[in-house]
Amino acid sequence: MSSSIIELRNVSKTYSTAAGDFIALTNVNMNILAGEFLGIVGKSGAGKSTLLNMINGVDQLSSGEVIVRADNENISIHTMSEDERARWRGKKMGVVYQSFQLLPMLTLIDNITLPMDLSDNYKPRESKERAMQLLQLMELEEHANKLPAFISGGQQQRVAIARALANDPPILVADEPTGSLDSITADHIFEVFEHLITDQGKTIVMVTHDVGLVSRFSRSLTIADGELLSESIPDTKLNHGRKK
């Protein structure tokens, strides 16, 4: 059995607003295994995006702990400062959002090169070459010098995935990455994710409101009102592969 790459211990999150306190997550405990494609499924407002933001360190938790074990390091990410988390995320965790979040003024290749530039993991020429490889992986090499506005939504999402892979992180987290895409394009994105898991051994955590996608994950967790309710492990080709 694979080891746990991310562990959440008693994670709770409460937001204070003018209208009063709002509990977004209550005592969430979970393990994410290396190399799995975990789906977190829930309705709008269930707390799935909050949970994802706890995992990627974008948001601060109210209590509990998130431990990430990657590259022989055990890191409790919420003990780090915002700045340290940004640096850590740049190297260890790729993030993909529904709204792509590409910088509109940079070309596709520059958008992908940006994380490498910020982390100084690669020399400029190497980063360019790697960005081109990632674009080839996403079958977008001919659009390398276009601005995001000049390609389709599905293509933009593939660029966002390429950017998330720029520093070759072991973990990818994706918040509704297919939410604004048509079903054919969404299917293509899933193929990319499956390829990343099977061929590159990445761990992917994805949240979605679409229960119809459960069968595409190697494991899925259902969340409602900030609590994890159930777990399912469908009989998919991903799990077949893992059994082998």
Partner: protein, 810 residues
């Protein structure tokens, strides 16, 4: 180029309007400070160099006629370097083919080639005038339309006309350098004097001291000793003037004026920095999502900080590229203008290193300082907040932990609207939206209001200062309110002049005035300064003094006088009733001060004693060489006409007229000089207004951009283009109106401050401030136009957005 720097480059060039706004905001400040600091450097250097290069006299003596023997004795006196005798007479001069007479001081030199003091620099034509030839100082050409080779007609005191050939134009930066009101000069050789029916004798001595030419105490000491010696030897000295070789007599005044302009320049930099802070803070809030993305993919605070700092530096560099060359040209232009006005030369166009350094420092540091706070807070923002899309930054939005109630402004708005509605007055809803929008970004509103208010307050204050200065000049004119002054070469009986004068159409009254040239003495007998004592009839209506202490002169005053405030420079504790030692006609006398009045300090010490007593002092009962005429009308044209008429009449009747001048002539010259100063102040005020307008445009643009979603909602529920534009323009109008209210208040201390500084620099005395509606009215009109104009472009942009575009924003 690395992607992060490519992003910075795109941020710089993609939004050209925003870049232009920031760059121009910085450039305005850099330009202003460059012009002023450059001009300051050029003038303070060139003014003294140019002045010293002409070997100016350290001591100028106005004397009774004297010959070469006296000149030799002056030359041989202790401590004297060079000494040159000249004769100066005032003549009316006319160019060939013109009927316009111009009063010139004609200076006769012994020899042009042996000229050692107050050197003449050639401009065109000959540098020496032979017998019956004349040279003109180049300033005279402003009044006299003459060309080299033509003949000039001079009117002698007996009415005879003589022609001299104009052979050259020269420049004399030394003679009369300290006197704004000095008449233009012309130069002849002594041999020409018989032609002008003048004796070949000197009446001026221009002297340099042998040592310590920049030590005013030494110059005074040597000059006073020389004067005493001349007095003892029977050559009366009526007036002395001391000046240092390397200090132009007007250097202090010019530096004070430049100091005021520099203060305004610094203020413009300050105002533009608030505009920069506003724009950069808006830029950062527009870039929150970008910052969020950068941090999401691994960007650290210092990397984000470095990116935006580079962007700011790029704005600064672009501003420098615009403002440095323009500032350099402006500095030289300003220096040249002042140099022409004050008759000194510049050493040529050049880049002033100090001004350049100041500009570079201002251009880079000011945006850096102004942008530091928004950049730091922007670079520290959390990824979550940056990506959450909370871009409007509504400061009225309730925050966690705040009490559950409306912000005060909204509460007031609701109350007022309800009260008005109960009385049947319904404020249009879009206007209420405009009002609320105005107060949503309070920090931005404050900075915009601050910039506009300062611009407005300075603008209004400059108009008040202008009126204050003119009012003071008018008040100064009330010391000599005659419509025409006629000076004769000899004394005439008052009754005689009255009999003749009243025959001239338009003359109402004639007064005889006398003049006593005296010296103010310290108790130990040392000369403190010259004192010009005028003696009108005690009941003269032509003097309307501004009394500071004591009283005005009376007919029965004996050895009593009223004196101008300038005397306090020598006797700070002087008060009415105190005795003062004066040297009159070579005798030391003790007079009593009866009153102290306000007057322009720069014009020396002025005093008044009654004609009734001066007649005894001068032994000229009911006689004088100077007469004041009051005419039926008092405008400049009538005065000029009457001066001409009286001149003709008296010359025709055989009187030896020296000069007939209208009362407003010299006042107008003084007013023109002041207007030049006011124009500079106004230029600075307009620059502050431009910065204010740019601030408002920027603010409105940012407000519209940040409320794109709201505008979309308004349009979705039926607001047409006009309604959207009206909402935006009304917001600009509200800001403009608020700034006007604040500017009215702030203009009051500004007026007092500016008036005091200017009057101390120009008049050497603080003056009473006068307010005028003019500045308020113009600024009110201007701010209305500016507010609307500044809002139109953002409003048009808002109205052009489609619902789909605006709701898809972000």
């Amino acid at each position: 180029m690395r992607p992060r720097w490519r992003k910075v480059l795109h941020d710089l060039i993609d939004n050209k309007a925003r870049t232009l706004l920031v760059v121009l905001s910085i450039a305005v400040g850099v330009f202003s400070i460059g012009v002023i600091s450059g001009a300051y450097q050029i003038i303070s250097n060139d003014m003294s160099v140019s002045y010293a290069a002409n070997h100016p006299a350290n001591v100028e003596l106005r004397m009774a006629n004297y010959n070469t023997d006296v000149l030799t004795s002056i030359h041989n006196a202790q401590g004297i370097g060079e000494a040159e005798g000249r004769r100066v007479n005032n003549f009316r001069v006319r160019a060939q083919g013109s009927d316009q007479w111009v009063a010139l001081d004609v200076v006769a030199l012994e020899s042009f080639s042996k000229n050692q003091v107050n050197l003449l620099a050639p401009v065109s034509g000959a540098v020496e005038a032979g017998k019956d030839e004349i040279l003109l100082e180049k300033d005279a050409l402003k009044k006299l339309n003459a060309a080299v080779g033509e003949n000039l007609t001079l009117e002698l005191s007996d009415g005879t006309l003589k022609e001299l050939k104009l052979v050259g134009i020269v420049q004399d930066v030394s003679t009369g350098a300290g006197d704004f009101l000095a008449p233009p000069f012309a130069y002849v050789v002594m041999k020409t004097l018989p032609t002008l029916r003048q004796p070949e004798l000197f009446n001026r001595a221009y002297v340099t001291v042998a040592e310590g030419q920049d030590d005013i105490a030494n110059i005074r000491e040597v000059g006073t000793a020389l004067k005493d010696r001349l007095d003892k030897n029977g050559t009366a000295v009526s007036r002395t003037r001391f000046s240092e070789t390397h200090k132009h007599p007007l250097a202090d005044t010019v530096n004070a004026i430049l100091g005021i302009l520099l203060a305004l320049g610094i203020l413009i930099v300050f105002l533009s920095s608030s505009l920069i802070a506003n724009t950069l803070s808006a830029l950062l809030s527009q870039h929150l999502r970008h910052i969020g993305v950068i941090k999401l993919v691994g960007g650290r605070n210092k990397q984000v900080f470095a990116m935006y700092l580079t962007l700011i530096m790029a704005f600064g560099v672009l501003a420098l590229l615009i403002a440095v060359p323009l500032g350099g040209q402006g500095a030289y232009g300003l220096a040249l203008f002042i140099a022409n006005k004050l008759r000194f030369n510049l050493l040529g166009y050049r880049i002033v290193p100090m001004a350049l350094m100041i500009q570079v420092a201002v251009g880079l540091l000011v945006p850096l300082v102004a942008g530091l706070a928004p950049v730091i807070s922007g670079s520290r923002i959390t990824v979550l907040r940056a990506l959450s899309g909370d871009l409007a930054g509504d400061e009225n939005k309730p925050q966690a932990g705040q009490p559950d109630r409306l912000p005060w402004f909204d509460y007031m708005l609701v109350r007022v609207t309800r009260i008005l509605a109960m009385r049947g007055i319904h404020i249009p809803r879009p206007f209420i939206i405009s009002l609320r929008n105005t107060f949503r970004r309070r920090g931005r509103l404050m900075l915009t209001l601050f910039t506009l208010t300062m611009g407005g307050a300075i603008f209004i204050a400059v108009f008040n200062v202008r009126v204050t200065l003119h009012d003071y000049i008018g008040a100064i004119g009330s010391y000599f309110r005659a419509d025409v002054t006629v000076d004769f070469d000899k004394t005439y009986r008052l009754s005689e002049i009255q009999n003749f004068g009243l025959q001239v159409d338009g003359v109402e009254r004639v007064e005889a005035w006398q003049f006593i040239g005296t010296e103010l003495l310290y108790p130990d007998g040392a000369v403190a300064d010259n004192l010009n004592m005028l003696a009108p009839p005690a009941n003269s209506k032509l003097v309307n003094p501004i009394i500071v202490a004591g009283r005005w002169i009376r007919a029965d005053d004996v050895r009593k006088f009223a004196v101008s405030e300038a005397i306090l420079n020598f006797f700070p504790d002087l008060k009415p009733g105190d005795p003062i030692h004066l040297k009159i006609k070579g005798r030391t006398e003790v007079w009593e001060v009866v009153g102290i009045f306000k007057f322009v300090g720069r014009e020396g010490i002025l005093a008044y004693t009654p004609f009734e007593y001066s007649s005894q002092v001068l032994n000229l009962t009911n006689r004088s060489s100077s007469y004041r005429f009051v005419t039926t009308q008092h405008d400049r044209a009538t005065q000029d006409l009457m001066a001409e008429r009286l001149d003709h009449f008296f010359r025709g009747a055989g009187f030896k007229v020296r000069q007939a001048e209208s009362g407003l002539a010299s006042l107008d010259t003084a007013s023109e000089s002041l207007d030049t100063l006011v124009v500079f102040l106004l230029i600075m005020a307009i620059l502050t207004a431009i910065v204010g307008a740019m601030g408002l445009t920027g603010t409105m643009g940012m407000n519209v951009l940040e409320r794109t979603r709201e505008i979309g909602i308004m349009r979705a529920i039926g607001a047409d283009d006009r309604a959207v534009m009206r909402t935006v323009i009304a917001e600009g109008f509200v800001i403009g109106a608020m700034s006007f209210g604040l500017a009215i208040i702030l203009s009051i201390p500004f007026t007092y401050l500016l008036s005091t500084i200017v009057s101390l620099a120009v008049f050497e005395t603080p003056i009473d401030v006068v307010f005028t509606y003019m500045g308020y009215a113009i600024w009110f009109g201007l701010i209305l136009v500016l507010s609307v104009v500044a809002s139109i472009l953002p409003a048009r942009n808002a109205a052009r957005l489609t619902i789909r575009e605006v709701l898809a924003y972000e």
